[in-house]
């Protein structure tokens, strides 16, 4: 181990060490001033972003290839740290309202973010596995955080835990088989063994499929999505917001790196399955969302469908000419999805009442009259999630579909466009209810929450009009040793 190794791992080390320190500091912060813990957590993530920014474009491997730093990891790390900061801001007021103020909330959130940050850099299957556990275990606990007032939270935690552990069982077995087939667990080395032709292709394929199944559970693609609505519904909304963005981004980071840098040849063999999974996810996620009356369940299916849009990039990366475009499209879309989705969750949090009510879509009636600013923001987020110009979602989907067409998967592109049209129905229903029906929604207004809403709304709007800088950033994010 050298200083260079430590430098590469610095973002993870800062977040994890800060979480450990915060665990102790929190003991000395009185219960009515837990805002300080929240502030410290934000500061920790801010510190962690400094080394990422300073070495954004460098490419390094460290700890014997256990972790790698490249544009891909830097981009995702910045995104994930930002998601962490916004989740803290979203949670602050919500925890007070639901009377579940505990300093450990922010500590666990930091631990989870440290797992995500590590996942973005994972260069070895064992790190993929450990980072996945590190990001999931705090989320299991956080899902059950509201258990005292809301028994559904406990159920959600249990369900999330059992399915998460089940999924990691698949991942471990998959890793074992990949190890058996190639004799290594380092992602780059796997590829070297694969192209030298000495690996056991049968074992490697089964291993890759098992890892795909395990990560499929984590990012919630059909047919591994069954847990999503119940868990998203039962978990505290502030946790769901983190789960729907952070856990997904972590899962996709692993999937993209693994299938592009590890075994693209296997991915090519599996392409029909990957296309099928993407299409099924798009169709089922969008159609099931229509029937939902509860906004959290609707957003759960919405998150499944967005996983489907990003999943379309997996069969596309098989073609090495398209791979760089596919990666940058996926990264850009993850960013856009994170901004719009966190914003939408911010509105949901603003309308959720202390008793856990206010979550039905009907509760949004009259929002346009009572609180035009909030309604406008929600409308913007919904339009962005549909992919209507001039919002960020449009640009994101545009690039995804362009890659799919470049890869000659016209059927899949068609499914994507049609399901986007279907999705307009349930997203627009929220907008219609807000503006066309009268009602008396109760809205929370709080500094942190409002700041988040402003930030995400502005982001959604500006990224739709000036996507250039971010696109430029996303297109420069090569994977280590593969793309310049």
């Amino acid at each position: 181990m050298t200083t260079a190794d430590l430098n590469v791992a610095l973002p993870f080390i800062i977040v994890a060490a800060w979480a450990c320190i915060l665990l102790v500091i929190d003991l000395f912060i009185p219960a009515d001033r837990k805002g300080l813990t929240a502030l410290l957590a934000v500061a920790g993530m801010g510190f962690a972003s400094i080394p990422v920014l300073l070495r954004f474009e460098e490419s390094n491997r460290a700890f014997n290839g256990m972790i790698v730093q490249d544009g891909f990891s830097s981009f995702l790390q910045l995104l994930l740290l930002g998601v962490g900061v916004i989740s803290v801001a979203l949670a602050y007021d919500y925890l007070q309202r639901r009377k579940i103020v505990k300093g450990e909330y922010y500590t666990l959130l930091l631990f989870s973010v440290s797992g995500m940050v590590l996942m973005a850099q994972a260069g070895d299957l064992i790190i993929v596995f450990l980072a996945l556990e590190l990001l999931s275990v705090p989320l299991y606990v956080l899902s059950g955080f509201a258990a005292k007032s809301n028994p559904e939270s406990e159920e959600a935690a249990m369900k999330y835990f059992l399915l998460g552990a089940f999924a990691s069982g698949f991942i471990v077995y998959g890793i074992a088989l990949v190890y058996g087939a190639t004799g290594t667990t380092e992602i780059e080395a796997i590829h070297n063994v694969l192209i030298s032709g000495v690996s056991n292709l049968g074992l490697l394929t089964v291993g890759a499929v098992l890892i795909l199944v395990g990560l499929g559970f984590k990012v919630a693609v059909v047919p591994f999505h069954m847990w999503t609505p119940d868990v998203y519904d039962g978990a505290p909304s502030s946790v769901t917001a983190l789960m729907s963005v952070g856990a997904k981004a972590g899962g996709f980071a692993a999937l993209l790196r693994l299938f592009l840098a590890g075994f693209p040849e296997i991915a090519a063999n599996l392409a029909p399955i990957l296309v099928g999974v993407a299409a099924l996810t798009l169709i089922w996620g969008n159609i099931a969302a229509i029937a939902q009356q509860n906004i959290k369940r609707m957003m759960a299916y919405s998150s499944i469908s967005h996983a489907g849009y990003i999943f379309m990039m997996l069969p596309a990366i098989v073609d090495s000419d398209i791979a760089p475009d596919a990666i940058s499209a996926a990264l850009f879309y993850l960013f856009v999805y994170a901004v719009s989705n966190l914003g939408a969750w911010g509105v949901i949090l603003a309308l959720e009442r202390a008793d856990g009510g206010g979550l039905s879509i009907d509760d949004y009636a009259g929002l346009g009259e009572r609180n035009p600013g909030l309604a406008l923001a929600m409308a913007l987020f919904m339009l962005s999630l549909i992919g209507v110009p001039p919002t960020a979602g449009f640009i994101g989907k545009f690039f995804l579909f362009r890659v799919v067409l470049d890869a000659n998967m016209i059927g899949l592109a068609l499914v994507g466009v049609i399901t986007s049209l279907i999705s307009a129905y349930y997203y627009l229903r929220v907008v219609v209810v807000m503006y066309m029906r009268s009602g008396d929604p109760q809205v929370r207004s709080e500094r942190w929450l409002n700041a988040t809403l402003w930030l995400t709304a502005l982001g959604t709007f500006l990224l739709g009009i000036f996507p250039g800088p971010l696109l430029n950033l996303a297109s420069r994010t090569g994977l280590f040793g593969l793309v310049p």
């Binding site: 505990k102 666990l108 064992i126 790190i127 955080f145 074992l203």
Partner: protein, 169 residues
């Protein structure tokens, strides 16, 4: 047939039977005991595979600590805590079908498709699997994962305390 092979088959049969026993036992205590038997059998298989240190770890941590935790919780909650009621009648047949397919796939890959590609076991040096060699690898090459594991265990500890303390706090 060599003694090793005979031993392997005996152990394999015990391992599979104890796993099945765990699955079908109505009483959770029996399930836990079957699982202990399974873990010990696997530990003996580790010995056959020149992994004495891991075998020790398996017995002390898995069969020892973790299963004691299981038994402790079962005893704490009482053995009759969950009446077994299967409410989704379609699930077991699908599960069995799925497993059958998986088994066939495995068998095909193992014994027919690629038999000679899998590396074969040969004679091996006595130092293989010793604590020294594993420790060296663990604290040099695998230093980062090792540290990550320690963070993970800390998180699990904090999480378990938060989950359990809820009732009083």
């Amino acid at each position: 047939m060599s003694t090793q092979l005979i031993l392997f088959f005996i152990l394999a049969v015990i391992a599979i039977l104890s796993a099945i026993g765990m699955l079908v036992s109505k009483n959770s205590v029996y399930s836990a005991m079957f699982l202990v038997l399974n873990f010990v059998t696997i530990a003996v298989l580790f010995l056959l595979l020149n992994a004495p240190f891991i075998a020790m770890v398996q017995v002390t941590i898995y069969a020892g600590a973790i299963m004691v935790l299981f038994l402790f919780v079962i005893m704490l909650l009482g053995t009759d805590m969950a009446a077994e009621g299967i409410s989704m009648p379609w699930q077991p047949p699908i599960a069995i079908l799925l497993s059958g397919a998986l088994i066939l796939e495995f068998a095909f890959i193992l014994f027919f498709a690629q038999q000679d590609v899998l590396p074969q076991i040969e004679a091996i040096s006595a130092a293989f699997g010793s604590p020294q060699s594993i420790g060296k690898l663990l604290f040099n090459f695998y230093l980062l994962p090792f540290e990550v594991t320690s963070v993970l265990l800390l998180v699990a500890m904090v999480g378990a305390i938060i989950l359990a303390q809820r009732e009083t706090g």
